[in-house]
Symmetry: D2
Subunit: 305 residues, 4 copies
């Protein structure tokens, strides 16, 4: 297996050159586009890794399924569904379309920014700072890694260049969906996006979703099965932005990408997968990462379809 992973990393590394490192957040543009790493963690606790799997990068949108999971745990499915829908929007992750009088839950999706910003205010906590602490603790627990921390330079860069997210937050506020100060809300959101992880962390979190909430190896329950299925379903239909349909056809797994170059993939009943390669395709997904996953899925028959 390790040999296969190493071979796939070497074969796909050159394709990263066809992509582009995200530059709308200056700090992200410093990433090395030639890097590619992968880590697999099976349900019974076995880990395999290759390439730049130890590189630490920011989660960015990969934090969205964790936000969703924590909101589900804090409020239950019904309360979350009532505010943030589950249908694909057919729009890019950062689309703002608001000619209508009302902003309804079915216009929002947990995997697009506007839905995720709203979600970040729906987790428990006295204020934004406490909510972020709870989210960070929860992420550490899921990754079984108490050292996870915000990468300060990226967080500050996001905060400085977050006009589009600010526009979305003010729109939510103008519709009465957000009561708190926008800057506080976004502070939590920008920090969440800036949590540093490695492929190993993503593989471990993905493995929890794959094993329906049970810890790899021990099988100890961490969160309820039904929430794992809820999140996995949404990852399948909307996890890869407006490349989700293409990813379902090519790879066939629930997955979430981030503009930091990470992908967390979930192979239900089998394993979690963490990928890193910061050169992105036009839809904002890791280019070499998707290629590698496509080949791995074919070789190991991972597709759920």
């Amino acid at each position: 297996m390790k040999a296969l992973l190493e071979q796939l990393v070497e074969e796909n590394r050159p394709f990263a050159r066809q992509g582009r490192v995200a530059d709308y957040i200056p700090e992200l543009s410093k990433a090395d586009p030639r890097e590619l790493g992968i880590c697999l963690l099976s349900q019974d606790g076995e880990e395999q890794a290759a390439g730049d799997f130890q590189r630490v990068f920011t989660m960015q949108s990969i934090v969205k399924p964790i936000l969703l999971l924590l909101a589900l745990l804090d409020n239950g499915e019904e309360a979350v569904r009532a505010q943030i829908g589950v249908e694909a929007t057919g729009k890019p992750f950062d689309a703002i379309n608001d000619a209508e009088q009302e902003l309804l839950s079915e216009h929002l999706n947990p995997m697009v920014n506007m839905g995720a910003i709203l979600l970040s205010t729906r987790i428990r906590g006295e204020n934004s700072a406490e909510r972020f602490r709870r989210l960070l603790d929860f992420t550490r627990q899921l990754a079984d890694n108490p050292d996870l921390a915000v990468i300060q330079a990226v967080y500050e860069s996001e905060k400085k260049n977050g006009s589009r997210n600010r526009a979305m937050a003010y729109l939510l506020k103008s519709h009465g969906l957000l009561c708190e100060e926008v800057e506080d809300v976004l502070d939590c959101y920008f920090q969440a996006c800036s949590i540093g992880v490695s492929c190993r962390d993503l593989a471990r979190i993905g493995c929890l979703f794959a094993s329906h909430g049970r810890a790899p190896g021990s099988g100890k329950p961490v969160f309820p099965e039904r929430y794992a299925r809820y999140v996995n379903a949404i990852l399948m239909t909307c996890g890869m932005y407006d490349g989700s349909g293409d990813f379902a056809v090519k790879v066939g797994l629930p997955a979430k990408s981030g503009v930091g170059g990470g992908i967390m993939a979930v192979c239900p009943g089998r394993m979690g997968i963490g990928i890193y390669s910061p050169a992105l395709d036009v839809k904002g997904n890791s280019l070499a990462g998707i290629r590698l996953l496509e080949q791995l899925s074919h070789r190991l028959g991972l597709s759920v379809f």
Copy 2:
């Protein structure tokens, strides 16, 4: 198992009253909203059925995955992908949105009418009549039922009330994507939608997709595994109109519904499922049918997530 199916049918039958039989095609409005039937066909060829599983109804949109499969077989994946995309459009199945200069493949999806009408011209055949004959023969082969035939009254009703589909076809033509006569093209499409099937036929076709193209029981290859996965992936992301996200969360299976009241569900590696209950919810999906599938999925652990 049979007892379980019968229990679920009786429990869910009353909920059909909350839905409405389709009436935009007058002939469809004659269906009995109290009917509910189900048939399961496992990969090893075992069949279980309950309720009104022998009722014959028209496929309507359930023919779309078959159109897609035949187009894939006739032209290969690349040629089909180049013309008809795979992303969710975020729009209802009959949305027409054409303010743009160009109509690109990414605006089309095989599971919405405009994409399906285009697909119907991409299967082999000298003319529309021959293309329909090939499609009917192929559907009979998949269902292993040589008696499948067009329900004439529904076909005529569709033809008479097909203004919206005509609008879509002329739009495709105005963009240079359709060269033939619109009425010929739609004649094939309306006939395809009007093929009569029962739950058993849908279970059998669904089972072929579940077993990746191999006949239930014998395991004889009918079509390539990769096309089964291609179709299943699209069914998961777009098969239930703009209720696909909700269905993925609740049921977790690739499936296709039709306004005739049918649902074909695919349980990869296990079974195909055919459902019939003509009272629809607001999104055009069989109301009692989805409820029944949700419960069945929980009881038998069918979700791929």
Copy 3:
């Protein structure tokens, strides 16, 4: 005055080269892009003309204000307003945007194709043929030219290449706004668009709108003042497609253009203007024609603003 017109024609003729003759209807593409003509008819009946003012070309969209006027005369303002709104749509003349459940009057405008096709069914007449005869007679009466006739080759070319208009008509039908056969309806519409006129005819019709429904020279009432103002107002806000705002700023007159290269401009209380120059700008308006009108408006102080 004649000298001024001749000077302006010669100065602006070279600019036609920057435009393009319409080619989506093959017959239109045969026009000579170097032609430019103008005719002015003052309220007291004096005519001035220069350049290719005798060339006969098809009205195309310039027939829309006449359709509107006849519908107003046949049904009254209230009945027309209830079905076809007056607001700018912010969309190109041939936009089809129909993701909504309902098609409301406020989505339609008499100066865009979908509204005009609907209008063509709202004029009196047993059938489409009779409605067209009445429209042609009315146009002849307005132009005081009994020789106006359909240019057969253009009409046939429109009919053959009218997929986009067919899409719109079927959409209207699917919304229950059109009861008759689409081909009959469009036959009337395509013939209307294909009526051949010269700059003199347009100047005379424009002059009727300018003099609030009174014949130039004699002052004999032809239609009520209030309908003249109704049409003029809509021409100002929507008459030049999505170049209407620009035209209001530059020229400041109610006007209607057609892809045949004509422009009919209305100078309220003063004169009507007919222009011909078939090379169009990117918005489908006569390029040299608008330039000439802009200069004429400045020289003679024609702007209503």
Copy 4:
């Protein structure tokens, strides 16, 4: 004339009950919905007024044409046009539609909020505070009223409830069109909207546009004729939000409304008109005010059409 105005005020006052005072800015909701006032100022300096013409209210959107005029004076037509288009958007004044990659000048209009916010940064001044001072001075000069001032309570209410405008400003910033701090930019904009005026002030400013930039009575030039025509043209096509087409048909004059209940109408070559009646119709225009203007236009033959 005065008798006519008084009669029209009394006849139309009762209709205000069919409208609603704006309440999205709490301070505005305190207005008395029964009030209705009008002032006319003719080009030769004669003033006529009736009803509550001395009531002071905030300009709100009526400041937009003044912002546009000052931007034109500061930068010239070409520079302004390059950034902020002139076409009707077909959208409500506060629509945010930004699914596209680029935000082009043709998506912006000086009379909708997003365009006006951008315009407010295009007038000369070291910073937002200086720009506002220049705008206030200019407004005082146009109104010939050195006492014009911000109504502090409304300004603070706008600032507190300005989420939607903040969303627009951040969107402009995310597209690189706004370089300064959003709060500074909006501070200028909110103050501009909160300048208190009476019908007399609006009649005087409207009269300047009517007389193409010359002071009523004296005829002394205040600003160039071509900018008066530019602004008047845009008022005609977009001044009354998405009720502009209806207003053109009914009244036939360039005009601008504000949610404070004011309307400034321009009767080119004749007079300026100021109206106040705070009960609004569904499109945000003064309900009784439009009714009164419609009757006045018919009685005096004011329509430019």
